[in-house]
Amino acid sequence: MIKSLSTDATLANAGLSAEEQDLFSNARPTAYEPYSIKAVEDFANWCRANSLWILAFGTGCGAIELRPLMTARFDANRFGVAGRPTPRQSSVFIIGGYSSVKTLKRIVRSYEQMQGPKFVIALGICPVNGGMYWDSYNTIKRLDQYIPVDLYITGCMPRPEVLVAGALELKKMIKEGRCDGANRYVENFDWYKANQKKVIKKWDMPDYNW
């Protein structure tokens, strides 16, 4: 259990007993620092770019395009893309399409449980401006108000070739060091949390799910 982080009285689980505090995060998220030697940081970025393990959580209709992507015709595995079952082992979260408010709560929880440098790819037009569900009471319109997004791939749904092009673009961005979504989340944590709580009305989880 992480006990070295400082307690923050502003988090909702601040006044709990010692046993219960261990069950929740008792600190705000911390940003990760890049390596001080540039060559090491470049090597680390090269490693992260060539090992894009995605979280196998099909959040919306984009998941239907991920299935042919993993098969022999388009073969994402040659780019280092592999599906992992838990957020702990994955570094890329692909939000496939629309997010209903119910799914958004699980997306936030999964995103916060991912470790280290983590990247978000938003598929489709729905995370951009609401798409064809622009007037729906249950789907969000701008995904980057709730979690930081590194790459948008527009379409309805984008074909697997476009997803491959998007994976290559993400690799290029990571190698250049431009993908700092995790640090952006930490820096604007209060803003993201306020946006999330505005739509997710039944908030029965810790403020930060680590």
Partner: protein, 179 residues
């Protein structure tokens, strides 16, 4: 089929028997005998399969119409039973004792239309909407665009284009349009 419908219309006061197309007939029945009619159709007339259960909001007429779609595998015909219930205090007897899958449809109807089914399993639990504090959203007095503008923000730079004008003026300017 017709003899069955004649007998049912006498016994259960069934009205509005309309054959929509070969294989689908709709009829309307009162709320207090609806469950008995469904039981009779299931047990004696061979309509053993409940396809789905949904509601139509006739806001102008002031009632909901519950639609039970039944199917008979022997004669390969469908029968749609319509039951009108009040909009303000929407309540109907639960049919989860006739078909077990009805509990899911009844949960959806309770959450999205506000129709109560006393005794149906888990009907008070959240189904698709968590923490919903407005009126049931499938009711036609719920303005979904207004709720959307209140809760979610648009991305800047989003515009709308009328396709007909766009084509006439920009893509095919020399075609004359449809004058």
């Amino acid at each position: 089929m017709n003899s069955m419908l004649e007998r049912l219309s006498k016994e259960f006061r069934v009205t509005d028997i309309i054959e929509r197309h070969p294989g689908l007939t709709t009829l309307t029945v009162d709320k207090d005998v609806a469950e008995t009619l469904l039981r009779e159709l299931r047990d004696r007339e061979g309509y053993t399969h409940l396809n789905f259960m949904t509601a139509i909001d006739y806001i102008e007429r002031g009632h909901f119409t519950l639609v039970y779609m039944l199917h008979n595998y022997a004669t390969k015909s469908s029968l749609s039973v319509h039951v009108n219930i009040d909009r303000v205090n929407a309540e109907m007897t639960s049919i989860h004792t006739l078909w077990a899958q009805a509990w899911t449809y009844q949960r959806e109807l309770h959450e999205l239309w506000g129709i109560d089914f006393p005794g149906s399993p888990r009907v008070e639990e959240d189904f698709c909407l968590e923490g919903w504090d407005e009126i049931p959203p499938m009711r036609r007095e719920f303005d979904t665009v207004e709720y959307c503008e209140r809760t979610f923000t648009n991305r800047e730079g989003r515009g709308t284009v009328n396709p007909r004008e766009h084509m006439a003026e920009i893509i095919f300017p020399n075609r004359g349009g449809d004058k």
